[in-house]
Every structure is written in structure tokens, then in C-alpha cells.
């Protein structure tokens, strides 16, 4: 028995029973899961959550499943790192990294949304799950479908990074490469969902799927000792995670589990695909779609379905947005690796690069707490760093040659060391 009360249209407010429904009948608006917070009071507490499993399912009372979770029993509850070396480098007082590059089992934030979507798909009686994806979502759908014993059918743009394609293929889904960009894939997927009786996680399971993204925000709050960072910087692709982390924060405030410090939400996009940040900068309430051209392929969505809600959350919270060039993105990937030992994909580099710009512009004051949300792992896209790491010298297995090499490396030769 869950606390879900209905599905509600985000545009017109129409309510529907919480069953299988893709969009609002009246205006095509996306549907949001609504809960009975009154009934939660006194039942959903810090203690009840802390007594739960060390996974995203510890927030199950705030998620839309009725029965037992079917996958994701070890997903979520990723590290929240106090990033002191990076903070010192950037000259900020209190900086945290929420690290979903360590999510289980597919190393991105998508393990969260897919845990909820696949559990819901089983509940609704589907035997096939699918998705349109820029890579990480397909990877998660393929793995979680394998765990739950479902068939998976995933559709991706044809030009994804090689590492990502192999990583999803190993789980045995049917992968279809579409000759087009993500927005083309998504359009096709919407038409497929109309025709085939499959659970397409980001189409007909969208209201449930997107709720999983809240767990990223719940964890930040709990791991900070039940408080909210003053600033949260999140990447924007389709626009799911930022409004959902904001929803998570507000749910915790509503339930009295954290103090309301008026948390500000900030949006990060690549300069080669920044429809949402552009709308924020220009004071528009809706975005203009773009044709993506960026190295950050996992967030290269030029027509983000939830873009208007990102703009709304950013604006109403008093946050802002920034975009980063490919060069800035890759430099930020390196900076995070070299200060905190975290290797993120270009999407994570985008988020950090945008955070740095927001700090430098004074949008994030240096004396206020900030959490930078890292949503994907660099090992999946390692080739983008080719040529950006130091040369790897090869020498014969002889100490004399090693000594010679050390002499040539700045900072390594020990002062006065004997070379006999």
C-alpha cells in the first residue's frame, strides 16, 4: 500500500487514477505522481527512512510502487563527498559532490529511474521494457531488465560512444541504432509506444520513471545530516532530474524532515546544446529547440520535454544557469579527477564547468554551501580524454633507464638522490 493519491497533469491539473497513462487527455501535458502527504506525517520520518535498506528503496514511501521492488536493490545511496581539495581550488567554503558515477550497477543516475520504472513494469504485467536513450538510460534498462527477467528493446542514436554500445550490448537487449539524433530517436519511440504493448520507460512509464530521480535529492539531504545545500547544480538533458530533485527537497520540507533554507537550483548545459540555459538567460518561460553539437553526448537533447519545468524550478528557486564549451567540459573532467579522484563523463564535466562559472559570476556566493551533482562515469566515454592526459613513456625493464626517465620528469627527481 503506497501513499500515491493520483496522477496529475502538470499543465491543467486534471487528476487520473495511478495506472498506465502516458499524457493528459486534455492537453498532452506530462503527468506527475501526487501523494497524500497528510497521511505520511508521523509515518514517514527520519527514523523510518534510516531504518530502511542502504539503497534508493529506503525512500520507498515517497515512490510510486505498490508491491515489492523488483530491481535496484543495491542501486542508489551513492557517495556524497565533501570535496575539500576542489573547494580550496575554487575558493569556496563548503562544496559537495553527489557521485552517481558510482551508482550500481551501471554507473549513472539512470539506475535510479530505471529501478522504479522496471519495478512498475513488472507490477503492470509487462514482459518487455524499452527506451530511447543517449546511452546511460539504455545501459540501465538493459541491466535492470536482465535482473528482472524481462526483454529489453533499446533505441539509441547511431553515433554513440563505442564503450557505451558494448556496455549495453553485453546484457543482451535488442539494440537498434537510429540514423538520427536523440530527438529523432525519441519521436520514433513515442510512435512505437503507441503501436506495441511495451513498457517504454521514458514514454508510457514516464510518470513513474521520473519519480526515481527524486532519490538523488533525498540522499543529498540525508547524507548532509538532514539539511539541504543552499545551491544545487544539475545537468539538463531531457529535463527530468532537476525538477525532481527540487520536488524531493520540497517533499522533505513539507514532511518537516529538513529545514527550509530556500534551496536554489542551477542548470548546467553544454554550449553546443543549451536550449534551457539560453531561455533562462533570456528570461523566456519556454525554450527554442536546437540541433545538438557537443562532446557531451549523454546530455545532447535539443528538444527537452521537461525543459519548461526546469526553467520554472530554476526561476522560482532563485537559481540560474550556465553553459560550457567542449574545451571547458574536458578541462573540468580533468580537474574533478585530479582534485577528488572522480572520473566523470563529459556530462559531469559540464556540470562542474557550469558550477565554476556560476561561482565566478557571483550567482553562487563563495561562502554558501553548494552541491555539484555528477550523474555519469568517465570510463564509459574514456576515449574523449584521448590526447588530454600525459604521454605514457615506455622504457626497458632496467633501473638505469628508470633513473634517466625520473631525471627528465619535473617534480619527481629526489633532491640529492644517489644515482649510483
Amino acid at each position: 500500500m503506497s501513499f500515491v493519491s493520483s496522477l496529475q497533469c502538470k499543465e491543467c491539473g486534471a487528476r487520473y487514477p495511478a495506472e498506465l497513462r502516458t499524457v493528459c487527455d486534455h492537453d498532452f501535458g506530462p503527468l506527475e505522481v501526487a501523494y497524500d502527504y497528510e497521511r505520511m506525517k508521523g509515518k514517514v520520518t527520519r527514523a523510518s527512512i534510516e531504518a530502511g535498506p542502504r539503497s534508493l528503496w529506503r525512500y520507498r514511501d515517497l515512490l510510486p510502487i505498490e508491491g515489492e521492488p523488483r530491481t535496484g536493490l543495491r542501486s542508489g545511496f551513492t557517495p556524497l563527498i565533501k570535496a575539500d581539495r576542489l573547494a580550496a581550488h575554487l575558493g569556496v567554503h563548503e562544496l559537495y559532490i553527489k557521485d552517481d558515477s558510482a551508482n550500481y550497477p551501471t554507473l549513472s543516475y539512470k539506475d535510479r529511474v530505471v529501478s522504479v520504472a522496471v519495478s512498475k513494469a513488472v507490477e503492470l504485467g509487462f514482459d518487455t521494457v524499452g527506451c530511447a536513450s543517449t546511452g546511460n538510460l539504455a545501459h540501465a534498462v538493459a541491466a535492470h531488465a536482465a535482473m528482472a527477467g524481462l526483454r529489453a528493446f533499446v533505441m539509441i542514436p547511431h553515433d554513440l560512444e563505442e564503450g557505451k554500445m558494448v556496455a549495453m550490448g553485453v546484457f543482451g537487449p535488442q539494440v537498434v541504432r537510429i540514423a538520427g539524433n536523440y530527438d529523432d530517436v525519441n519521436r520514433l519511440c513515442s510512435q512505437i509506444a503507441d503501436k506495441y504493448h511495451w513498457a517504454i520507460v521514458n514514454v508510457n512509464l514516464r510518470p513513474y520513471y521520473t519519480e526515481g530521480a527524486k532519490t538523488h535529492g533525498f540522499e543529498i539531504a540525508e547524507q548532509l545530516g538532514w539539511r539541504l545545500p543552499r545551491h544545487t547544480v544539475l545537468p539538463v538533458a531531457g529535463g527530468t532530474i532537476l525538477p525532481k530533485v527540487y520536488k524531493a527537497y520540497r517533499e522533505l520540507i513539507t514532511l518537516g524532515l529538513v529545514e527550509d533554507n530556500e534551496p536554489r537550483m542551477h542548470a548546467a548545459q553544454a554550449a553546443g546544446c543549451n536550449p534551457v540555459v539560453q531561455a533562462i538567460e533570456q528570461g523566456q518561460s519556454d525554450f527554442k529547440p536546437q540541433k545538438p553539437n557537443t562532446i557531451a553526448k549523454s546530455i545532447a537533447i535539443g528538444n527537452p520535454a521537461d525543459g519548461p519545468y526546469v526553467i520554472e524550478a530554476v526561476r522560482s528557486s532563485g537559481g540560474y544557469g550556465a553553459s560550457a564549451s567542449d574545451e571547458e567540459i574536458l578541462e573540468a573532467v580533468k580537474l574533478l579527477a585530479r582534485t577528488e579522484g572522480i572520473f566523470t563523463e563529459p556530462a559531469g564535466g559540464t556540470t562542474l564547468a557550469a558550477a565554476i562559472k556560476l561561482i565566478e559570476a557571483g550567482r553562487i556566493p563563495r561562502d554558501e554551501s553548494v552541491c555539484v551533482c555528477i550523474t555519469g562515469n568517465g570510463l564509459k566515454t574514456a576515449q574523449v580524454m584521448q590526447g588530454r592526459v600525459e604521454a605514457l613513456p615506455t622504457i626497458p625493464a632496467r633501473l638505469a633507464q628508470f633513473d634517466e626517465l625520473i631525471e627528465s620528469l619535473p617534480g619527481f627527481a629526489p633532491a640529492g638522490a644517489a644515482t649510483a
Binding site: 499524457v23 538520427g180 514514454v203 521537461d306
Partner: protein
Amino acid sequence: MMAQTVTVRIPAALRPQVGDHESIQVGGGTVGAVLGAVCSQYPDFGKRLYKSEGQLNRFINVYLNDEDIRFLDNLDTPVKAGDELSIVPAIAGG
């Protein structure tokens, strides 16, 4: 100007409003005129498609063949015989 016959693909969520057809053949010189022709034939369809006069609901995407009309001339984009117009709800993902 001769009205051009265009195929309009209807998504499942809107089929009850158009007699359960998956697609409809209508005439019109522009995207807006074609959609207008569907609306005058099926008024309930129009109520769901438009937010106000001349403004589509923001979660409805319209594609002329493979291109989003927002990259073209929106509702003023000209159409020619044999074109396909797809109405697709915006969806999440990544």
C-alpha cells in the same frame, strides 16, 4: 492556391477524437491550414491540440516529414502533396 493532400499521423492519445483513425488525408497549403482542416472536421481534436487561437499546446510537437516545424516556419510552413505531418507528444528521457 491548390490545396495539397497531406497525410496527418495521429498519436494514440488523440485517436478517439478522430474516429480512431491512425492517419487522416486532408488538404491545405500550410501546416496550420492542414491542422485547421482536421480541426474543422473533428472539433474535439482541435480543443486538445491548441492552447489558444494559433498556439499549439506546448507539449505537442509537430513534424513535417522528419523535421520539427519549429525549425521550419512553424504553422506557416508550406506543405506539398504527399507530405506527412506527424503529431507527437513531447517525451522525457536521456
